[in-house]
C-alpha cells in the first residue's frame, strides 16, 4: 500500500469525529463527508446508521455515487430503514444524529455561515441559505468539513446560520442544552472547542503541515496547546477501504484541486 496522501489523512481525521457515537444517525453532507462516515462505520464505529442521501438508511459499505434502487448498482446495498425528510426532521429534534456540514465562513466560537455574504437583507452573494443549519446545530452534534481554511476562517461571520458557543451561551442552559460542535477538519488540521471558554482549539496537525502554516491561515486567536499531536495516519485496512471500496474513482480528491 503506497503512503497515505493528504485527502486520505483528512478523510480519516473527519471519520474520527464519529468515534464513540455508537448507534447514531450519521448524516454527512457532500461526497467527502459521506466517504468519512462510511469509513468510520467500516473501520471502527460499526453501529452508525448511514443514509444514502435520498430517503433510505443503508447497510454495507458502498462506493460514493451509488444510487439505491438502481439495479445496475445496488449490489451490496441492504436497506435497513426509511428516512424521508419528515422523519429526518423528527430525528434531528430527537437528537440521535451527528451532522457534518460545510461552511463559507466560520469564527473562533464556531459560528458558521453558508447562507449569504454581505448584508443578508440584500446580499452581495446569495449562497445556500440557512438550509437545515439552525435546527441541526441547536439540536444535536455537529462537525464541519472545511477544505479551504484560509478562505473560510474569519474574524467574524456576515451572518450566523449555525450558532457557535458564544451565541448558545447567551440562550441560557435550557435553550442550548443539546448543542455540541464536535470537530472541525480542514486541509491543514483538526480543531475542537475543548477550552474553558469554548473557543476553537488546535487538536492535531496533519502530517507535513507546520503549526506556522496553520496560524497563517487563521485570522483569529487560536488556542494552541504546548504539545500538538500529529493527525493519525490511516491504517492499511483504512487505505484499502478508501481506495478499493468507498472511493475507487477518486471523487474525494476533487476538493483538493483548487
Amino acid at each position: 500500500m503506497s503512503a497515505a496522501t493528504i485527502d486520505e489523512i483528512c478523510l480519516v481525521a473527519l471519520a474520527e469525529a464519529f468515534r464513540g457515537d455508537g448507534e447514531l444517525l450519521c448524516h454527512p453532507m457532500g461526497p467527502f463527508p459521506v466517504a468519512a462516515g462510511r469509513l468510520a462505520r467500516a473501520s471502527f464505529e460499526p453501529d452508525l446508521m448511514l443514509t444514502d442521501t435520498i430517503a433510505y438508511a443503508v447497510t454495507g459499505t458502498v462506493p460514493l455515487g451509488t444510487i439505491v434502487g438502481d439495479p445496475a448498482e445496488d449490489e451490496g446495498i441492504v436497506v435497513e430503514g426509511y428516512l424521508p425528510f419528515r422523519t429526518v426532521f423528527d430525528q434531528i429534534w430527537a437528537g440521535r444524529r451527528h451532522v457534518v456540514m460545510g461552511a463559507s465562513q466560520i469564527d473562533r466560537h464556531g459560528n458558521q455561515n453558508f447562507a449569504a455574504i454581505g448584508d443578508y437583507r440584500r446580499p452581495k452573494a446569495q449562497l445556500l441559505g440557512l438550509r437545515g443549519a439552525p435546527g441541526n446545530v441547536i439540536n444535536h452534534t455537529t462537525s464541519y468539513w472545511i477544505p479551504n481554511q484560509a478562505r473560510t476562517f474569519v474574524e467574524s461571520v456576515d451572518m450566523v446560520s449555525g450558532p457557535g458557543y458564544d451565541r448558545v451561551a447567551a440562550l441560557g442552559e435550557s435553550g442550548g442544552r443539546f448543542h455540541e460542535i464536535r470537530r472541525i477538519v480542514t486541509e491543514l488540521a483538526a480543531y475542537d472547542f475543548e477550552t474553558p471558554d469554548r473557543t476553537m482549539r488546535l487538536r492535531s496537525v496533519h502530517p507535513g503541515v507546520a503549526i506556522d502554516d496553520v496560524l497563517a491561515a487563521t485570522p483569529f486567536e487560536l488556542a494552541v496547546p504546548d504539545e500538538v499531536p500529529s493527525s493519525r495516519l490511516p491504517t492499511d485496512e483504512e487505505l484499502r477501504l478508501i481506495r478499493e471500496v468507498i472511493d475507487p474513482t477518486g471523487i474525494r480528491q476533487a476538493e483538493f484541486r483548487s
Partner: protein, 285 residues
C-alpha cells in the same frame, strides 16, 4: 380541469403554496400556467426549486416564504440568487425543519408551533415574521414560535390521482405535499396519470395514498407535468434542460430565448410537443 382553469381560480396578491422539494416533483405545468397568466404580486410558500426561480425571474413574486431554494444537482438557484441580490422580493427564510412546522401549524389551525430550530442563529434576526415564545412550564425555555403559514391555494404534483382528488406518490419521498394540501384554503393537484379509484392500489401500496380527496379541489392530468424536475419512478430530472435553464440567468438573450421556446406556449400539450422535438440528450446544445 386544465392548468388554465386552475390559474383562473387564483388572484393577484394571493398566497400560493407549491409542493415538491427543490428540483423534485414540482407542479411545473401549473407554474408555467401562472407565468402565461397575468398573475402578479404573489406570496409564494415553497421548499423552492425552479418554481421559485421562474416566478422570480418573471417578476411575479412580492414575498417569498421558503425553507431553501435549490436545483439540487445545481446547488444555487441562479434566478433566485438574482432576486435576492437585487432585493426584488421580501425574503422570509426558515430553517428547513422550522418550515415544516409552519405548514403543520396551519394544518392544525393553531397560531404557531414551538421549536429549538433557529435559536442562536440569525434566522430570527432577519425574518420579521418570526417571534419567540416562553414555555409556560417549569423549564421556562425560550423557543422559536413558527407561525402558521396561511396559504390561499396550494399546488401539488402527484404520480397518480383519481378524479375525486385522491393523490398517490410512488417515489421515494412524499416531501410535505399532504401538509401543503391540508394547510391551504384550497388545493389543486396535477398528476402524471389519472386513474380509476379502483386502480389506485395497482401500482403502490396503501401507504402511498397520502392526500385524501378531502383536501383537493381540482385535479389536472398532466403527463410530464413536473418536467424538468424529477418525478420518480415516472422519470428522472432532465439535467440537460436544467443546465440550459440555469444558464439563462447569466445572459438576458438566453433568457429571452428560453422564454420564447418554453414559456410563451399556449398549453402544456404544446410544451410536451416541443419537448418531443428536442434532440437526444447527448446532442443537445
Amino acid at each position: 380541469m386544465t392548468e388554465d382553469e386552475v390559474v383562473a381560480e387564483l388572484g393577484d396578491g394571493m398566497t400560493i403554496g407549491i409542493g415538491g422539494w427543490g428540483s423534485r416533483r414540482k407542479p411545473m405545468s401549473l407554474v408555467r400556467a401562472i407565468l402565461r397568466s397575468g398573475l402578479s404580486d404573489l406570496h409564494v410558500v415553497s421548499y423552492g426549486g425552479p418554481d421559485v426561480g421562474l416566478l422570480c425571474a418573471e417578476g411575479r413574486v412580492r414575498k417569498l416564504t421558503y425553507g431553501f431554494v435549490s436545483l439540487d444537482s445545481i446547488p444555487l438557484e441562479p434566478h433566485f440568487r438574482i432576486a435576492r441580490q437585487t432585493g426584488s422580493v421580501e425574503a422570509r427564510e426558515y430553517d428547513e425543519g422550522a418550515f415544516y412546522l409552519g405548514l403543520l401549524a396551519a394544518t392544525h389551525r393553531v397560531p404557531f408551533y414551538p421549536t429549538r430550530a433557529g435559536l442562536g442563529s440569525d434566522m430570527l434576526t432577519y425574518n420579521p415574521d418570526l417571534k419567540t415564545v416562553t414555555s409556560p412550564y417549569a423549564d421556562r425555555t425560550e423557543l422559536v414560535a413558527v407561525p402558521a403559514f396561511d396559504i390561499d391555494v396550494s399546488l401539488v404534483h402527484m404520480n397518480r390521482a383519481d378524479a375525486a382528488g385522491n393523490g398517490q406518490f410512488l417515489g421515494p419521498d412524499l416531501y410535505f405535499d399532504d401538509l401543503f394540501a391540508m394547510a391551504a384554503e384550497r388545493t389543486f393537484m396535477s398528476c402524471e396519470r389519472l386513474v380509476a379509484t379502483e386502480d389506485l392500489l395497482s401500482e403502490g401500496s396503501v401507504h402511498t395514498l397520502r392526500i385524501p380527496r378531502l383536501h383537493t379541489d381540482g385535479v389536472v392530468e398532466a403527463p410530464g407535468g413536473a418536467h424538468f424536475t424529477e418525478c420518480p419512478p415516472d422519470y428522472g430530472r432532465d439535467e440537460a434542460f436544467q443546465r440550459e435553464y440555469a444558464a439563462t440567468a447569466r445572459d438576458p438573450e438566453a433568457w429571452a430565448r428560453f422564454r420564447a421556446d418554453w414559456l410563451d406556449l399556449p398549453s402544456h400539450e404544446d410544451y410536451r410537443a416541443r419537448l418531443a422535438e428536442r434532440t437526444e440528450p447527448g446532442e443537445r446544445r
